[in-house]
């Protein structure tokens, strides 16, 4: 149990291109073996035998260097950097006296500095890697050696060892489960580290080994396992156990993988199959590449170009030198003879070429790289310091763990996000319920008073103190003894597969298969219906303080098709009752007709809940007479015993009894999103960032979350689901999805009529597919937006909002080489992509795919170990800290506590970093060219920032982000503009002083055209020109800007005067021969006039050009700034910070309510696994003690696991099943009231009457297609116009002055459909054609 504290450690290697430990023979042998290993043979308890194969041991190495290899390896790596090599080369050149034009230390000092700083950083990084490796490798585990358990370090665990694991311990290697303390060799594991799923999983040992039990028997176990070689497939294992002349097949069900945690199991024993680097966890960790930003790459290219330019200049100058030496120099020899080794002009030219290379090397100054690093470091600190990215709950500030990627944050185009723990908190809360037509739950107090949390303790000593509920009406109702309410909670306390553990009296711990079931049972517990314990045949509860034991007659278990579960119980009075909970779509059609009215009310509530993004469940019950029970029991037994089609028969039997039920109500569970997730996603997608969710979770869960975090919206044109199992079907699905998109976008461009027609056709197609049950895996249209997006919206070739949902097995096909392109082109046309059931490696593959095909900057965000590979392969990896260990954080480049900080990271910091970096580079190149071309520059110039728009503005206008994605600010064109400007400046700086000074004299008659005066004049002019230039470039003049700009000018003069002072000259007369130049030069008015002239000539064209650009083709950021200025002036009196007005515009919940009218989504099905009912009734998972109580024969004791397995392998995607279930279209016919009332509800209250009726008409017609496919869980009850009307309402709410900008954002949010008010007029054409073809 205490081992849990161990979690903060690093499982996954930070870096894997390991120069493998150069242990003689070992590494080489291993790699050779790796190539040839075709199968693995492991013999238990036989180290000698296993050593023959040289399997990797359990030691993991993620560090790169050791003390001996550090220097050579690190230097080698550093000199792979072009710049470093270049400077080394220069250094060598400068050591040749004939060439050397600058002293050698001007190069070696910065070079050595850069090298040593990098080396220190690398060494520190590696030290921590060593440390964490050591920590992991030195963990203790109990190994069975010669019949006794001994403590061994993890690194000494060998393949073939048998190790003992205790509860809550990490699994040390990939183990074959041999036996456990639980009955039947069962054990529970949590695989969150591997795949991110936090629910528990069951593993069972092969029955023969399960019987071995204690260490003594295990010590003599000598079975041999033959299995597949190490691979990265987490969900597959294939092997055979040979023992005592018998063969036993082994599957993944028998394996405990490294990284899992043992739960709810006292102890278990396992045989090490794969160790260390061979484990699936390690095999799944992607290779790390050194991350570079695109600016880095561009910079390197440019540096190469500049180098080319340099060589050209060198050649030109060398040729010039040759000509000069021949024409002039040879004659000039009386005054200036050639150096001794030079005997002709050609050789002189050759030497001068190299000299010029050295002199002009300042075009590619090493300070560029240093400065870039410094700027990045500064930005990193700003990220670390940002209070708005600080999570006070977990006391974690954002951390930028890499300092080299900041500006790339401003260029992100794709975000790959994990779901659990990243988008969601992975907490299910019982949020609302509807009981007998009365809705309970969060009361939205118009006064905004914080509702009081209910205190259950006085009423119920068994209540869970963590449970939150705010509506006291419900508690009143329970206390009053309302029958419906009691029955409601009784159902919740009985109908589930939760196991309870009562450690001491009243201290209950529920172990739920799915978190939402746990939430429901906990809710019942708090409202006085406490589930205490269960045996295979009974359920004991405490109802309002009274202990009641129900006998459990049957569990009608959940599966994907049924989407419901029921229990049949007999209460102490002998009354038999069936309690059922399930997806509303399934349940509502099984109600007794007398429930009509209640049903419509509940249905409204369900719609409401669904629109709020809650997972809903409908609850119903039915009383059974003894006869009915007997009859059904018989048929059930019959079905159960059947050998063929057992499942179908069972389903039919279940179906028979789950009829004519009475509706009790509905529950709404919130899969708690992290704070601000929908807003963040909306904002990011406005910034044209595409968000992909990659999750290991089920499709339904993922889609549901997609809806609740507004990734998928009801006004998406279409949502495609790819779920094919074969290459062909996946290809087909992708193609048809693309064709649909083309079709729809074509339709759209042809105007309204065509649009409406496309909708019509879409519906037709959907109907056609619905009828087609056998091949119904094609992409389905879920929804055809009733409103065309505004024509003004910017659209790509494929316009409209599409979403793609793809499952893991389809993804596997889609990622194959020949499908890649197809997948990418389809997926990238979609606004949102959700990949479910993906393995960690697939996550990385998807990221790689986009990197490869789209050449876009990608960002991966996740929190668990399963995200590590993705985080590493994306350009930028972001780790969410504090949820599931810190593996993701350790592998990430940035980490913070909440998903919503992403918007700030990207839109504020990323944008700023990018802008600053771009400006810096432009300026730097400009400066260098200006400087190098005139050859002189004394001062050191650094430090400025280019903030241009305040942070809240960045968030307000996400479009501001786009220039970064398009890489507008620093590309080759900008670069050329910069250097052209630089060259122009240098020309001016040279020729203006030239023209002026050549004939000028001091006011005392001494000529000014001497070398030193000229240099000082030019350099001063240069400093002043570039300072003015930076002043022009600076958009934000803070204290620091003033300090640095003035400071650098000041320091230039200070340094110059110092260098030209007598003191220095006296000490080093040869080095400081400029003595007196500064004073002499700068006292001359002519010099200052020259400088002023040069400055004007340099700056005026730039100023004019910029003004023209700004005036005629303003960029968005300019406009924002301009507008801000105008507004500031306008609102001067009393105008507080913009934030103030911003603040008043609503809260999260308001936004939620505004989106009311979305599709209803039932939640229960999504996080549940079938088979647990059987597990419970079989009594298999009960401890022996409890099992003894009820010797209730396990009807299918021998078969349940097999059944479970079979079901698992035949697992059919729910989407398919949904279609195949009988879809009685009469539902839509029988309850028109449902859709109508919901639509009225959807249309916001404040809407004018004619609008409302208008909307209602549209709604009733448009929701028909939705109602006609009740089996479809996400069938969107379309209330799109409601959106627009609420947004219109919202507009009237928003405070006056800021309405405009808010509106813009809103409208963009709601599908960019132009003006909200206009949307109503656009409705009718759709209305006409959208009527479904009944």
């Amino acid at each position: 149990m205490t081992v849990l504290t161990d979690i903060p450690e690093k499982w996954l290697p930070v870096v894997l291109p390991i120069k493998k430990k150069k242990k003689a023979g070992f590494g080489g042998g291993k790699s050779k073996k790796k190539r040839t290993e075709e199968e693995r043979r492991v013999k238990a308890n036989d180290r000698e035998h296993n050593e023959k194969f040289q399997y990797a041991n359990n030691c993991i190495v993620t560090s790169k260097y050791n003390i001996l290899t550090f220097l050579p390896v690190n230097l080698f790596e550093q000199f792979q950097e072009v710049a470093n090599t270049y400077f080394l080369f220069l250094l060598i050149l400068q050591l040749i006296p004939q060439i050397s034009s600058l002293s050698w230390f001007t190069t070696i000092v910065p070079l050595a500095l850069v090298l040593s700083i990098t080396a220190v950083k690398d060494a520190t990084d590696d030290y921590f890697r060593h440390k964490s490796d050591n920590q992991v490798n030195n963990r203790q585990s109990q190994v069975l050696i010669r019949g006794s358990l001994q403590n061994e370090k993890w690194m000494n665990v060998k393949v073939g060892d048998i190790i003992k694991l205790e509860n809550n311990q990490f699994v040390a290697a990939d183990l074959l489960l041999l036996s456990s303390t639980e009955p039947h060799g069962l054990c529970y594991i949590e695989t969150a580290e591997l795949d991110g799923e936090t629910n528990m999983k069951v593993r069972q040992s092969v029955s023969v080994t399960a019987e071995l039990g204690d260490p003594n028997n295990l010590a003599s176990f000598d079975g041999e396992v033959v299995c597949e070689p190490p691979n990265n497939k987490l969900d597959r294992f294939c092997g055979t156990l040979y023992w005592r002349e018998k063969k036993y097949p082994l599957t993944n069900q028998n394996m405990l993988l490294r990284g899992c945690v043992l739960r709810n199991t006292e102890a278990c024993y396992g045989l090490v199959i794969f160790a260390g680097p061979d484990t699936k966890l390690m095999q799944n960790s992607g290779r790390t590449k050194f991350k570079r930003t695109s600016i880095d790459r561009l910079m390197n290219t440019l540096v190469l170009w500049i180098f080319g330019f340099l060589v050209c200049m060198g050649v030109i100058l060398a040729v010039g030198n040759a000509v000069w030496e021949r024409e002039v120099g040879s004659l000039f020899q009386s005054y200036l003879p050639w150096d001794p080794p030079v005997d002709n002009f050609m050789f002189s030219a050759f030497l001068s070429f190299w000299s010029y290379i050295i002199i002009l090397n300042t075009v590619v100054p090493i300070s560029l790289y240093v400065s870039v690093e410094v700027i990045r470091l500064g930005h990193s600190y700003f990220i670390n310091w940002d209070r708005q990215m600080f999570c006070s709950r977990c006391n974690t500030a954002a951390e930028s763990r890499t300092t080299t990627l900041n500006e790339e944050l401003g260029q992100v185009e794709y975000i790959f996000s994990d779901k659990t723990g990243t988008l969601t908190q992975n907490i299910m809360t019982f949020n609302k319920c509807s009981i007998n037509g009365q809705t309970y739950g969060e009361v939205t107090d118009p006064l905004g008073k914080q509702p009081k949390r209910l205190d259950f303790t006085p009423f119920n000593p068994l209540a869970n103190p963590d449970f939150c509920f705010y509506d006291e009406k419900l508690l009143e109702s329970v206390k009053v003894g309302d029958l419906h309410t009691h029955e409601f909670f009784r159902l919740l306390s009985l109908c589930h597969t939760v196991m309870s553990e009562e450690k001491s009296e009243g201290e209950l711990v529920y172990k739920a298969q799915s978190p939402d079931e746990g939430a429901l049972v906990t809710a019942a517990r708090n409202f006085g219906f406490v589930f205490r314990s269960r045996t295979p045949g009974t359920i004991t509860t405490t109802e309002m303080g009274r202990t009641v034991t129900y006998s459990l007659l049957a569990i009608l278990d959940f599966n994907n098709i049924r989407k419901r579960m029921s229990v049949i119980v007999r209460n102490p009075e002998g009354r038999i009752c069936l309690y059922c909970k399930g997806a509303d779509t399934v349940l509502l059609e099984r109600l007794h007709p007398c429930n009509q009215e209640l049903m419509s009310i509940t249905s409204d509530h369900l719609n409401e809940y669904g629109a709020d993004g809650l997972r809903t469940l409908a609850l119903a019950y039915r009383e059974l007479s003894e006869d009915e029970w007997e009859a059904w029991s018989e048929s059930h037994r019959c079905a159960d015993k059947a050998t063929d089609c057992r499942e179908d028969r069972l389903a039919a039997a279940y179906d028979k009894i789950e009829q004519d039920m009475k509706l009790l109500g509905a529950t709404a569970i919130e899969d708690k999103l992290q704070e601000g997730v929908p807003e963040t996603i909306a904002l990011l997608s406005l910034a044209n960032i595409k968000i992909w969710v990659l999750t290991g979770d089920k499709q339904e869960t993922a889609v549901n979350i997609g809806y609740s975090c507004k990734m998928l919206t009801d006004d998406m044109t279409e949502v495609f689901i790819i779920g094919g199992h074969t290459v062909q079907s996946v290809r087909q699905e992708l193609r048809s999805a693309r064709e649909r998109m083309m079709e729809l976008s074509r339709g759209k461009t042809e105007g309204m009529e065509a649009w409406a027609e496309a909708c019509f056709m879409g519906n037709g197609m959907k109907d056609g597919q619905e009828g087609d049950c056998t091949t119904g895996r094609g992409s389905k249209q879920l929804h055809c937006s009733s409103l065309p997006p505004s024509a003004s919206g910017d659209m790509d070739s494929i316009s409209g909002e599409f979403a793609l949902i793809i499952s893991g097995h389809s993804l596997a096909h889609a990622l194959e080489a020949d499908m890649e392109a197809e997948f990418v082109s389809t997926a990238c046309a979609c606004k949102a992509v959700i990949c479910c059931r993906v393995t960690p490696l697939q996550k990385a593959q998807v990221v790689e795919l986009i990197k490869k095909h789209k050449k876009a900057v990608t960002l991966a965000i996740g929190d668990g170990a399963n995200d590590v590979s993705m985080i590493k392969s994306a350009h930028i990896g972001v780790g969410i800290s504090g949820q599931e260990g810190i593996q993701a954080v350790l592998a990430s480049d940035y980490s913070f506590a909440q998903f919503r900080f992403l918007q700030r990271l990207l839109l504020v910091h990323g944008r700023w970093s990018y802008l600053r970096m771009c400006r810096f580079l432009c300026y730097f190149f400009y400066k260098n060219f200006a400087f190098t071309m005139v050859h002189f520059w004394f001062g050191f110039f650094c430090g400025f920032s280019a903030q241009d728009v305040p942070d809240h503005r960045s968030l307000e206008y996400p479009k501001l982000y786009e220039p970064g994605q398009l890489n507008l600010l620093f590309n080759k064109k900008e670069f050329f503009i910069c250097i052209t400007q630089g060259i122009y400046t240098s020309v001016v700086l040279f020729f203006v002083p030239y023209a002026v000074l050549s004939d000028a004299t001091q006011s005392n008659g001494v000529p000014l055209a001497d070398y030193q005066t000229f240099a000082v004049t030019t350099a001063t002019a240069l400093v002043i020109v570039v300072s003015v230039q930076i002043a022009l470039d600076t958009g934000f003049w803070t204290v620091f800007n003033h300090m640095f700009v003035w400071g650098s000018v000041g320091s230039y003069f200070t340094i110059m005067f110092a260098l030209h002072s007598q003191t220095l000259f006296r000490i080093f007369p040869n080095q400081f021969r400029f003595i007196g130049s500064a004073q002499n030069t700068l006292l001359q008015p002519v010099v200052w006039l020259t400088i002023a002239l040069a400055t004007a000539v340099c700056v005026v064209p730039v100023l004019a050009f910029r003004f023209l650009k700004l005036d005629l083709k303003p960029q968005l950021s300019d406009t924002v700034r301009h507008t801000q200025l105008v507004r500031q002036k306008r609102r001067k009196p009393g105008g507080r910070s913009i934030g103030g007005a911003w603040r008043g515009t609503g809260s999260v919940s308001e936004g939620r309510l505004g989106a009311r009218g979305g599709s209803r989504r039932s939640g229960y099905a999504f996080s549940h696994q079938e088979g647990f009912g059987e597990l419970i009734t079989s009594g298999k998972n009960m401890r022996l003690s409890s099992l003894a109580l009820a010797n209730f024969a396990s009807k299918h004791s021998s078969s349940w696991i097999e059944t479970l397995r079979r079901k698992k392998t035949n697992h059919t995607p729910p989407s398919t099943s949904g279609e195949c279930s009988p879809a009685p279209s009469n539902v839509s016919g029988t309850c028109p009231a449902l859709s109508n009332s919901s639509s009225v509800l959807g249309g916001s209250q404040e809407t004018p009457i004619e609008e409302e009726t208008d909307a209602a008409v549209v709604l009733s017609s448009s929701s028909h297609p939705a109602a006609s496919e009740p089996a479809e869980p996400r069938a969107p009850a379309q209330v799109a116009p409601a959106d627009s009307s609420t947004s219109a309402a919202a507009r009237t709410d928003s405070p006056g002055g800021w309405a405009r900008s808010l509106e813009t954002v809103q409208e963009a949010l709601f599908g960019r459909r132009g003006c909200a008010s206009a949307s109503n007029t656009q409705v009718p054409p759709c209305d006409a054609t959208e009527t479904p073809p009944h």
Binding site: V328, D386, T1001, G1005, D1010, Q1062, R1121, S1294
Partner: protein, 373 residues
């Protein structure tokens, strides 16, 4: 609604309340400091290039530059300058013979005279320059070829000059170190110029040329110093060194008449050592002091320039000139500056007008405060 509903600031404010009141038990609050710098919220002035700021700037620049330019131009025009080329390229020029008959080892100097007429009198101080053309005093090897340490009188450098001075490091025959070493010193301009005024009455009077005060103060007093002890004879102090190859006399005989102007601190030498930035340059040679009475320094009339022709430039097509010039507050004659100022000012003004028109006609943003999102 959604985008606006999340407000980080609001939340921030909320939290800061709790953290400033003592962090409620958290052992170490990692919350970053709320300083304007760390939160990047420093008060800032945001200059924006609007028509209201840019256009006036142009006009102001124009309005400032044009008058300055006119002033400079007028000043420059008032400066009188006279130039004589005495290289002797043309056969009829007075120094043709000297230029052609020059050999390095001739001991008898060749003298030639050039006559010229000043049409206008030169008022106040007149400065006399020699000018050289096509002379690469800025060549990298040339510029390097000196030893400032030696010139500063450091004894060790005197006897052991810097390698930079090669090939004028040691005398090839005597192997003695050269003082002053290097190519610059070796190529010291050693023509002697004398000016005579042919008075209207037929007499010629020598114009007094002042040879002190032509070098920078710092050069004369700090940078250049004779080696050794001041009390010793200068010849003694330079003992053990050789004269530069091209020189006719050693460094301690540059101006035997004035000990303050001899050796390394000879001003002609100092002026020469201040290398020119361009291949065509002039260097101050002598100053003709203003006369105490009101007569012009150089009256208009005929003058004779007597040249001791020692310095060969024909081999590299060089030219030698003698320049007489007066000086204003801004130095010598310099028409370029004035013209440039006038031009730039006019361009600015013109640009301002053009931009104003463009702005009025095509401006896209001043009309509304709308933001296309």
């Amino acid at each position: 609604m959604m985008a606006s509903s999340y407000n980080a600031k609001e939340e921030d404010g909320h939290h800061s309340g709790s953290s400033t009141h003592g962090g409620t038990g958290a052992p170490k609050n990692k919350k970053p400091d709320n300083t304007a710098f760390k939160q990047q919220r420093l008060p800032a002035w945001q200059p924006i290039l609007t028509a209201g700021t840019v256009l006036p700037a142009f006009f102001v620049i124009g309005l400032i530059f044009i008058p300055i330019g006119i002033g400079l131009y007028v000043t420059s025009n008032n400066i009188k300058e006279y130039e004589v080329d005495y290289t002797g390229v043309e056969p009829n020029s007075p120094c043709y013979d000297c230029a052609n008959s020059f050999t390095w080892n001739s001991t008898t100097p060749c003298v030639c005279t050039v006559n010229f007429t000043l049409t206008q009198p030169f008022e106040s101080n007149v400065y006399m320059y020699y000018g050289l053309s096509n002379f690469y005093q800025n060549h990298r090897r040339y510029v390097k070829s000196r030893d400032d340490s030696q010139l500063n009188g450091v004894q060790s450098s005197l006897t052991n000059p810097s390698k930079e001075c090669k090939p004028y490091l040691t005398n090839p025959e005597t192997k003695l170190p050269i003082a002053p070493c290097g190519a610059i010193a070796n190529s010291l301009f050693n023509d002697t110029l004398e000016l005579y005024y042919s008075q209207p009455d037929g007499n010629t009077s020598k114009v007094t040329l002042v040879k002190r005060g032509i070098a920078w103060y710092t050069d004369k007093n700090v940078k250049f110093r004779n080696p050794g002890n001041d009390k010793d004879n200068l010849t003694e102090r330079f003992k053990g060194t050789a004269k530069p190859v091209n020189w006719l006399k050693p460094v301690y005989e540059l101006d035997p008449s004035d000990p303050e102007n001899n050796g390394f601190i000879n001003e002609d030498f100092i002026v020469w050592m201040r290398t020119a930035a361009l291949p065509t340059f002039r260097k101050l040679y002598r100053i003709i002091q203003k006369k105490p009475d009101s007569t012009p320094t150089l009256a208009s009339g005929k003058y004779v320039l007597k040249i001791t022709y020692n310095y060969p430039v024909r081999s590299f097509d060089g030219r030698k000139r003698m320049i007489l010039s007066t000086i204003s507050w801004m130095g010598g004659k310099n028409p370029f500056l004035g013209i440039a100022y006038i031009t730039v000012g006019s361009i600015c003004f013109f640009l301002g007008v053009v931009l104003l028109i463009i702005h009025q006609k095509y401006d896209t943003r001043s009309n509304s405060a709308d933001i296309p999102n």
